[in-house]
């Protein structure tokens, strides 16, 4: 895909929508930042590269009264489908521009390795910054390894050949997932206490999640129902995250935005990936795969569910 393809596609879509959500390069940070394109001139600044990590679907429920175009990676497309299934976004108000996605990188980690603020470039299987480089496989987001969803499940127009991409290989290093899987239940109790003692209750996890659209009625914060207090301590913060996790059961598409947004690096995906695995095991269901789907915890099937006690 060339940037010109993308820019031309955005301009075409702008003829029928009010705004297109995409990315542009931040001159200060050197990486992609979300952008809103209202005019063809603005669209000239559009880019797509492996620093386009943000899931722009999060903005759709907030733009209910406009016609919106959105540039979407495969995983973002699943969030869009789930939002439509849940009635938060209407299909006829949006135009989805699919992009061929090679996988996106953990920009915070790149900055830690290279230093902040220089242009990060991805070429020849390596991520480069000012003459230094590292293999891109080492710095991909976890979801991108063996991605099953590179071809967007919902798409009106494609910028480039979305079928041409191949999923990045599995991660080669053992990381937190393996360590967590090997822990006993008591060790996990201790692990979460420790992790949530760092939570600052900023709710960035919720704000970044396309499916956390309750806004001012979010029960991570409400007094009524009062699931958890506002005090910033491990117990209250863990309960707050249990509220959020349970609300995502059967809805989470595994986009990793919550964890990416968390400023203190709590590995929230350990919970969501496990819940998604359970939902798939029980209901053969992955959220956001089809507009015809019903969210499994909002329905039941007398015949198929009989196996449980």
């Amino acid at each position: 895909m060339s940037m010109n393809d993308l820019i031309a596609t955005i301009k075409k879509v702008l003829e029928e929508v009010d705004v297109v959500l995409g990315w542009t390069r931040s001159p200060a940070a050197g990486v992609a930042v979300p952008a809103r394109f209202h005019t063809p001139d603005e669209a000239d600044g559009a880019i797509f590269d492996s620093t386009c990590t943000h899931n722009l679907a999060v903005h759709l429920p907030r733009l209910k009264n406009s016609k919106v175009g959105i540039v979407a990676k495969g995983c973002d497309a699943r969030s869009i489908v789930q939002l439509i299934v849940e009635g938060e976004v209407s299909r006829d108000r949006i135009r989805v521009i699919g992009v061929p996605c090679p996988g996106v990188i953990d920009v915070k980690r790149a900055w830690r390795c290279f230093g902040f603020g220089k242009k990060i470039e991805d070429a020849g299987g390596r991520v480069h910054m000012e003459g230094r480089s590292m293999p891109r496989e080492e710095i991909l987001l976890h979801k991108c390894h063996q991605c099953q969803d590179q071809e967007p499940v919902i798409m009106d127009l494609a910028a480039g050949d979305v079928k041409s991409v191949t999923p990045p290989p599995p991660p080669d290093k053992t990381g937190i997932r393996e360590r967590f899987a090997a822990m006993s239940i008591a060790e996990r109790r201790e692990f979460w206490r420790e992790q949530f003692s760092r939570c600052i209750r900023c709710y960035a996890c919720r704000e970044a999640c396309p499916l956390c659209f309750c806004r001012d009625a979010c029960s991570m914060q409400t007094r009524e129902p009062h699931w958890t207090g506002g005090q910033v301590n491990a117990i209250e913060s863990e309960m707050a995250q249990q509220v959020r996790t349970s609300h995502l059961a059967g809805r989470c598409t595994g986009c990793e935005e919550c964890e990416r947004a968390c400023p203190v690096g709590i590995p929230l995906m350990l919970l969501l990936e496990e819940q998604n695995r359970i939902v798939e095991e029980l209901f053969a269901y992955r959220a956001g795969m089809s507009l015809e789907d019903k969210t499994p915890l909002l329905t039941y099937d007398v015949n198929r569910d009989g196996g449980w006690r």
């Binding site: 239940i185 996990r188 309960m239 996790t245 350990l270 919970l271 039941y300 007398v302 449980w308």
Partner: protein, 130 residues
């Protein structure tokens, strides 16, 4: 050393298990004093967070019981509950909570003896893991 006293919170449906528990009581069947009952209109009311909140507040075990599938007073409450409870139970190990401390089941109003068994057996199991 297994604990001798445990605290178990029971979320019971008013139309069946609560009545079953009542029957077991009236018939003076032997039951441990470990259970504190919260009466609900239907298991469809059991938000999984009620269970997690009970654990967080210090419950050793949490028991959810309602009408047998097919017999819900509101026709379908327990079909929803069954899905939610199954996901919750399987999530507990990742949350760092022993799944042996949680149990959901179906006990009708006429099953007083079964109720006593359920409570006795669950209490025994909770004592082992606490």
């Amino acid at each position: 050393m297994p604990k001798t006293e445990v605290k178990i919170i029971g979320f019971l449906c008013n139309w069946c298990s609560y009545a079953g528990a009542d029957m077991a009581g009236t018939a003076r069947m032997k039951q441990p004093a470990s259970l504190r009952v919260v009466r609900l209109p239907c298991t469809g009311r059991v938000n999984p967070l009620l269970v997690l909140k009970a654990f967080r507040e210090g419950a050793d075990g949490v028991l959810v019981s309602g009408c047998h599938p097919g017999d819900c007073h509101y026709n379908e409450g327990n079909y929803y509950a069954r899905r939610r409870m199954e996901v919750l139970e399987r999530m507990l190990p990742a949350l760092g909570i022993d799944p042996a401390r949680f149990h959901y089941t179906w006990v009708s109003a006429s099953e007083g003896a079964k109720w006593a068994d359920v409570v006795n057996e669950f209490t025994r199991r909770v004592k082992q893991v606490i």
